[in-house]
Amino acid sequence: MAESAIRDYANSKGFHRQTLDRWLGWQPSDQDALQEIAVGLKVSENHLRDLMDWLEEIALRDDSNISAILKRPAIDSIKTDPRLGRADKLKRIKEQLRRWRFPRLAAIEESIRVKVQALKLPAEIHLSVPPGLEGGRVHVSFSAGSQGEFAKLIYRLSDAASSGITAEIFESLSGGAPEKEPNQN
């Protein structure tokens, strides 16, 4: 596609000059591959910058090129899935690119998600970990409509707290078991 089409899109969305220059600094095939997604899904500048960051960094790390990344079957199947609207397609493409960009982080997040599911907590209890796992703390929230329900949820939480699965969640957050450091205490 022509450079002018990218300029038109960037102008219509009010992109900063740096964003446009960066895009136009890519190889023509890479420019086109991103343009297809950007125009098709009406991607805003903030989302576009995330995509550009991740695509450039994946390409650098894997010694690949951006158009090849965007032609991978996982992306193609999202782009062509008739069940998904624009916003969902963009969300899923970003999730997929993030998984490729941060494979080990994504793998830990996924394993924690699976472990949280395995705890089989009632819907009233929400257990989550911080974005990017930074801080290493598990956040727990719950709501109860009666004293009886409250007591029941506390019981379930207490059960979960002593579970081996919960221990594994905390271990995942802390990079494994700590080593002893006897000399500085």
């Binding site: 650098l60 790390r61 990017g132 930074e134 802390s174 990079g175």
Partner: protein, 369 residues
């Protein structure tokens, strides 16, 4: 380490009486010297391409008009080591791809050395004298390398005799150079720590441009130790890449095979970190650097770091390798949260004073006796 290449020296009028000027005239006699009335903040930054890199080609000598001695700003929300800094120069002649000065000094990137050493000493003396019961760890490597310019300026040689006589201070000279020759005949009386920022040779080759090699740094450390200086090592920024473990473990073994760890003042660990703004600059200046592909997340202090479980694992491995060869050496983490301290060491300092006080306890005992 190769000699630094400058195109010229620009001197602000009034600095000609400084010992630093005299040293520069001797050591850089082959360069043109220009005397100007005023050196502004944007001096040295008018190159059309890579302004920051181009600014390293001209050496400026000027009076410093502000305060020399400041508290290290640390990083918001992170455990602080109660460090003070003296800035006797601004910007660095070396060019690490991750260097935070690329962003911090983006609008003031002239490579400047300050000529008023007498003011620096007088200001420091007022502070140290006013607080004789307080122990000061002072570094000179916050916005410059402490020793890279020493063969030309002789700045540190001017400072050491003063600091050697102070009871309540340790002066740290932090460097990636091997420029220690002018220090070796001075008696620091145990008041000066020469600290090296350390990385495996692979990282030096890829991302620490114009710095001394690992072997050169270690040889220089050994010379300093033999000359009576205390040593510090900063394994910072640690870089994670496939095979990093064997490179870092070998580096630690090489380090502790070269120096006597009993004479180490301190040792710090830190991981690669940068603001998103610095990352944008790195992308422009070093678009092929593998550092751009690190698995980093944005932390509450606004800096990108390796995601927490990964860096905890890195710190634990480093601490284990260090402990194996130097069981009781003091290790601290630079710009890390209490949670990470606790996960790595099983404890966190109760406050910044607590951590600062753990450094050089024998000097603490002297001043509190």
């Amino acid at each position: 380490m190769r000699n630094l290449q400058f195109d010229e020296v620009v001197v602000e009028r009034g600095s000609e009486s400084s010992p630093i000027y005299r040293n520069l005239r001797q050591t850089l006699a082959h360069l043109p010297f220009t005397i100007v009335d005023h050196i502004g903040p944007d001096q040295g930054t008018n190159s059309p391409v890579d302004r920051f890199g181009a600014a390293k080609r001209t050496l400026y000598l000027a009076r410093h008009k502000g305060e020399f001695l400041k508290k290290c700003p640390g990083s918001e929300g992170q455990v602080c080591c109660n460090y003070f800094v003296i800035n006797f120069a601004s910007n660095c002649p070396m060019d690490c791809s991750y260097c935070y000065l690329q962003e911090y000094l983006a609008d003031n990137s002239a490579l400047k050395v300050f000529s008023n050493v007498d003011d620096l000493i007088a200001e420091t003396d007022r502070t140290l004298a006013r607080h004789r019961g307080v122990f000061f760890r002072i570094g000179t490597g916050e916005i410059t390398d402490s020793l890279a310019l020493e063969p030309y300026t002789g700045m540190v040689r001017e400072l050491i005799p003063y600091f050697a006589e102070q009871a309540n201070v340790l002066l740290e000279l932090k460097t990636k150079s091997d420029c220690v020759e002018t220090l070796l005949d001075l008696d620091s009386k145990g008041r000066v720590v020469v600290g090296w920022s350390m990385n495996p040779q692979r990282v030096i080759d890829l991302d620490e441009h114009d710095t001394a090699s690992l072997s050169e740094r270690l040889n220089a450390a050994r010379l300093c130790q033999d000359a009576g200086y205390r040593l510090g090592f900063h394994f910072d920024p640690m870089i994670e890449y496939p095979g990093w473990e064997s490179d870092y473990e070998s580096m630690i073994e090489q380090t502790f095979a070269t120096i006597d760890w009993h004479k180490l003042a301190w040792l710090s660990l830190g991981v690669l970190r940068q603001t998103p703004g610095l990352k944008r600059i790195m992308r422009e200046r070093y678009p092929r650097s593998g550092l751009l592909t690190a698995e980093q997340v944005l932390c509450p202090d606004g800096k990108l770091r390796y995601f927490q479980p990964l860096r905890i694992e890195m710190y634990r491995k480093m601490a284990r390798w260090i402990r194996r060869v130097a069981p009781t050496v003091k290790i601290y983490l630079c710009m890390e949260s209490r949670q990470v301290w606790e996960q790595v060491f099983g404890f966190a300092p109760s406050c910044e004073k607590d951590l600062g006080n753990q450094m050089a306890p024998e000097i603490q005992q002297t001043i509190h006796a």
